[in-house]
């Protein structure tokens, strides 16, 4: 009986993490559509990601309530809740970034489009590996480190791409407001990777606590 309830909660945690990964994939598709000018599809992806975000929020709250009311994993409960909440923040940033594209419709110069594709991909890589690390934290603690190293790697790639975008745009003769606007979007996408790294920092400590 107890094990059945535990399995159900395990499934819920897995489903929640699946939603985070899905959110990242939808973000990548949305970005592609935006850069290729397919605005209708882009808006559909935005709708999808917002639904995912909502569903993930409900699921997370449900998981948190269960962890607390049934006093599960008393020793790691705080860490697990912290992890779920901080990975939720990554999903929120992903969704908010897409929303900002929809609201502000930034005009991106053609030579920056591949860079925006790259930055989206590397930041979502960060997100995906962070999710992998969290899954390992639950089940295969020794593998957490491998994922964290990948996250750190892709975060650096993201930073470099963001820098390239900023350097490129500030060396054009466009208006300053345009330059700042473009930089702002690169910065937003970069935040996905930054927040993923924050999750991993938290995870490293939680992992040490579990192993020790």
């Amino acid at each position: 009986m107890f094990l059945k309830q535990t399995k159900k909660l395990e499934t819920q945690i897995d489903e929640y993490l699946d939603l985070v990964v899905k959110g990242g994939l939808v973000f990548k598709l949305g970005m592609k559509c935006y850069l290729e000018g397919q605005m209708e599809e882009f808006e559909n992806h935005l709708k999808d990601i917002r639904k995912i975000e909502e569903k993930a929020d409900d699921l997370r709250r449900n998981i948190e309530i269960k962890l607390y009311t049934r006093t599960l994993i008393p020793e790691s409960r705080g860490d697990v809740l912290g992890l779920l909440e901080s990975i939720d923040k990554v999903l929120n940033i992903t969704s908010d970034t897409l929303l900002e594209f929809s609201v502000e419709i930034p005009h991106l110069i053609p030579e920056l489009k591949p860079e925006f594709i790259n930055i989206s991909e590397s930041s979502i890589e960060c997100l995906e590996h962070t999710v992998g690390a969290i899954r390992s934290y639950f089940k295969n603690i020794d593998a957490v480190r491998d994922y964290i190293i990948k996250v750190q790697f892709y975060k650096k790639v993201t930073n470099k791409t963001a820098e390239t975008i900023k350097r490129t745009i500030f060396r054009t003769d466009k208006e300053l407001s345009y330059k700042i606007h473009t930089r702002y979007f690169a910065f937003h996408i970069e935040r996905i990777a930054e927040q993923s790294e924050d999750v991993c920092d938290r995870l490293s400590i939680a992992t040490i606590k579990r192993i020790e």
């Binding site: 535990t6 599960l72 994993i73 008393p74 020793e75 639950f138 089940k139 603690i141």
Partner: protein
């Protein structure tokens, strides 16, 4: 029914309560402090299993207050139990876990000193050394077990939540088993001395099952232990679970597992018999104490995980408690006995006759004890242990151990061999035909001293000689005990 028995029983119930309050920590302490099980749940499970253990298996245990000496008067038992209960309660107040055996030993020695009865220093040394050995063995087991779990179970790819569930189930099961055995083992300490004077009569349940007066008494005692767990059990838990060492769920289970395994391996007679029967090397049986074993396991696991996190000053305090508890119980027992005897005019000792005979002298000589000076006491009967002791000591300054042996051999413990009892009471499966025949040959013989009985009945043929085979010898010892109890006619039951 004599109403005063309820007054005497009240001290047993108080002892039960104090025991529950102090020992709850070794049952569910780690589960509660690691927040795996709520205190309420733990107390309910612990309470139920303690009551079941004392009711179902309590009657079979021999671990009574009298294991060190023969407290043989009910007012004496009352006082000894009261002294034990007060000292355990004091330790509980100070949030220090102690073993019941510690306070019991102290109080019985207090009784021995007060009444002039001799103390069996061999048993005492064994018990006292168990207080040192128990934590050491358990610490070693806890250390090894934690290393094994860390390098195996935690490496298997099991979901954290599943480990949590297994851990919780494990803590409940081990706690329940420990509660059951605590009830079974300690109920004799709590209620054993009142069995002869139980105020309850047998109750027939639907003509199927009869609940004996003793069982009802034990049930009462069980409830008192459970009440102790409920009302005050939480107090000592904090000392062990967070002050001594911050216990996590995994370490919590490791601790209780290690101490339970140690208790089972080193105290289980059935395990020893099983190993011997299967020609496997047996583990030496050592008297171990559950609380000490538990504290040892906490230290062992702590050392394996992170030695820095053990609060050794708390451990030192617990150690001091282990010395203070028996001393307090002994002192209290002595003082209370004085009041009970002289102010309330209650009999705290049933006079037991002693007589030195030629066979006693012979036996003492065999043991290398100087007997010339007490030769003149041969044939004289003493009805008070104090007078007997004074007379002996006047003649020669014997050591404690020698005094114990003189008392042990000189006590009047009468036997009469009655062959009609043999067929009825001695199992022909257990005893060989020759053995039964040999016993019948002694029909009609009577003895005033156990040594004479043993010499005549068991010393006259090869049928009762130990073979050196552990299993056979154990069986032989049991047989001898059965025969002795069958033919014993005095009310004095001196412990072997």
């Amino acid at each position: 029914m004599d109403i005063s028995i309820w007054f005497f029983i009240s001290s047993g119930l108080f002892l039960g309560w104090s025991l529950g309050a102090n020992n709850a920590v070794s049952l569910f302490g780690t589960a509660v402090t690691s927040k795996m099980i709520k205190f309420r749940t733990a107390a309910i499970i612990g309470g139920i299993f303690v009551v079941l253990g004392s009711f179902i298996s309590g009657a079979g245990t021999t671990n009574t207050l009298a294991s060190l000496g023969g407290v043989n008067a009910i007012a004496g038992s009352f006082t000894v139990a009261l002294a034990v209960a007060i000292s355990i309660t004091w330790m509980t107040k100070a949030k220090l876990p102690v073993s019941t055996s510690q306070a019991v030993v102290g109080a019985i020695i207090g009784w021995n000193l007060f009444t002039g009865s001799p103390t069996d220093f061999n048993s005492l040394t064994k018990i006292v050394s168990s207080w040192v050995v128990s934590p050491i063995i358990s610490a070693a087991f806890g250390f090894i077990l934690f290393k094994i779990i860390k390098n195996t179970v935690l490496k298997w790819k099991i979901h954290m939540l599943e480990i949590d569930t297994y851990n919780r189930i494990g803590l409940v099961i081990v706690g329940a088993i420990a509660s059951y055995s605590m009830g079974a083992n300690n109920i004799a300490n709590v209620m054993g001395m009142f069995v002869e004077a139980t105020p309850f009569s047998d109750v027939n349940v639907f003509d199927i099952y009869t609940i004996t007066g003793t069982q009802q008494l034990f049930l009462f005692g069980g409830f008192s232990i459970a009440a102790g767990i409920f009302t005050y059990g939480h107090n000592v838990m904090k000392t062990v679970g967070s002050d001594l060492y911050k216990i996590s769920p995994i370490t919590g289970l490791t601790v209780v597992l290690a101490s339970s395994i140690v208790m089972w391996l080193f105290t289980s007679q059935s395990l020893e018999t099983f190993l011997l029967k299967n020609n496997l090397p047996s583990i030496p049986l050592v008297p171990l104490s559950a609380t000490q074993s538990f504290i040892g396991a906490v230290i062992g696991v702590g050392l394996a995980k992170d030695p820095q996190s053990i609060n050794f000053s708390v451990f030192g305090k617990i150690g001091v408690g282990w010395v203070v508890a028996p001393l307090t119980a002994g002192l209290l027992s002595f003082i209370l006995l004085f009041f009970v005897q002289n102010v309330f005019e209650q009999k705290v000792i049933q006079p037991v006759p002693y007589e030195i005979t030629h066979s006693v002298i012979q036996k003492l000589k065999e043991d290398g004890i100087e007997t010339e000076k007490i030769n003149e006491l041969v044939g004289e009967r003493f009805y008070h242990s104090k007078i007997f002791r004074n007379e002996i000591m006047k003649r020669n300054q014997y050591s404690n151990n020698e005094i114990y042996l003189i008392f042990h051999y000189a006590i009047i413990d009468s036997f009469k061999v009655d062959s009609t009892l043999i067929n009825e009471n001695l199992d022909s499966v257990l005893f060989s035909d020759e053995q039964l025949k040999e016993l019948k040959n002694h029909h009609g013989k009577s003895f005033n001293h156990k040594i004479d009985f043993e010499k005549t009945i068991f010393g006259s043929s090869d049928l009762w000689v130990k073979t050196g085979n552990k299993l056979d010898d154990k069986e032989l010892e049991e047989k001898i005990k059965l025969v002795e109890n069958l033919f014993r006619i005095t009310i004095v039951k001196f412990n072997n």
